[in-house]
């Protein structure tokens, strides 16, 4: 089962996209996007994992102990912040949309006239 985490990451992408495509509520859609983004956290951390190794923190262990990859963790940390802030901004946009149009359903938000 050495590829299982990767398959789970791919599954989260599929599920998130499915949620976005079929969503009938913009708040729901934004959360589905967040689920899809969380797939990249899983992917990154799975890549950097090393069997039988310590976390990359040498407070209590000598600095020569085998440890998992610290880079992916730093990247994931950045990614978590980015994902969260984007989600917050999107939520604000959804609230704003609702304020103007009184609905969160993308189908009802479809303009009556062509938009081109």
């Amino acid at each position: 089962m050495s590829v299982l985490p990767y398959v789970v990451a791919a599954w989260l992408v599929l599920v998130g996209l499915y949620g976005i495509v079929t969503s009938r509520n913009l708040l729901h859609l934004v959360v589905c996007l967040a689920v899809m983004q969380s797939s990249s956290y899983l992917l990154l951390l799975s890549i950097g994992y090393v069997k039988d190794a310590e976390p990359p923190i040498f407070a209590d262990v000598p600095p020569t102990t085998p440890a998992v990859d610290p880079i992916v963790q730093a990247l994931t940390l950045t990614d978590v912040v980015v994902g969260t802030t984007v989600t917050a901004l999107l939520l604000a946009l959804a609230v704003q949309t609702h304020k103007r149009y009184g609905t969160l359903d993308p189908e009802e938000l479809r303009p009556k006239r062509p938009q081109a």
């Binding site: 089962m1 050495s2 590829v3 299982l4 985490p5 990767y6 398959v7 990451a9 791919a10 599954w11 992408v13 599929l14 996209l17 499915y18 495509v21 079929t22 992917l43 799975s46 890549i47 950097g48 994992y49 090393v50 069997k51 976390p55 990359p56 923190i57 040498f58 407070a59 600095p63 020569t64 440890a67 998992v68 990859d69 610290p70 880079i71 992916v72 963790q73 730093a74 940390l77 950045t78 912040v81 980015v82 802030t85 984007v86 917050a88 901004l89 939520l91 604000a92 946009l93 609230v95 704003q96 304020k99 189908e107």
Partner: protein, 253 residues
Amino acid sequence: MNARLRLRVFAVAGTALFAALVWGFVGLPDFGSFDGAYGQLLNRLSVPDRASTDVVTTVNFDFREFDTLGEEFILFAAVVGVASLLRTLRGEHVATPDDDVPGRRVPETSLVVGVTGTLLVAPTVLIGIYVVLHGHQTPGGGFQGGVILATGLLLTYLTADYMTMRRVGPTALIEAAEGAGAAGFVLIAIGGLLFAGSFFENFLPIETAGQLISAGTIPLGNLAVGLAVTGGFAFMLSEFLQQTLIKRRREVR
């Protein structure tokens, strides 16, 4: 596209995409057998060169601190964006003339909630500060501590009523914290340029690993980010919260 057609197209495209992703992902090294030269190099450098025992923090606040600068301003841009988006919403309600009539009934916070909240706030804030300050030694750092602190502030809001909240956390102050944290982080970078010769170079003494004041500018960076994140998250949360609180007050009236 109607919902049916969209679902059909997606069923085909999504399945193909899933297959493609799995095909790409299985090319990765088997789970648990990664041998990244870059990561191991930094694992070896962090303690001797930077006296920081949390390598992840060293990566974020020294080796690849420039990424964190970008990340910090992503937060900044999102906060400013949320503020300008919800700006009119807020204006609309605050402008209601009878909103600030003295002597009007405000929902009283129940005693139990108040006491529990107050008891929770102090430890939360303490934990937050601890996590920010010890970022270079143990798991945590400016970001995690900042979010904890912001949640602590939010607890104050939730347990006190809206008027107290306006007194405790005026928006301008939070904005100032956010701005100061973000600006401070850039100043650390420029400090590196001035005192050590290159942007973001660690220009303070490294000292020995394990002490609170060690690792040069890493704790400073954590502090700046902690300030910015506290300000940013508190701002976003309170911005969303303000809407709801106004609502609650109206219903009571």
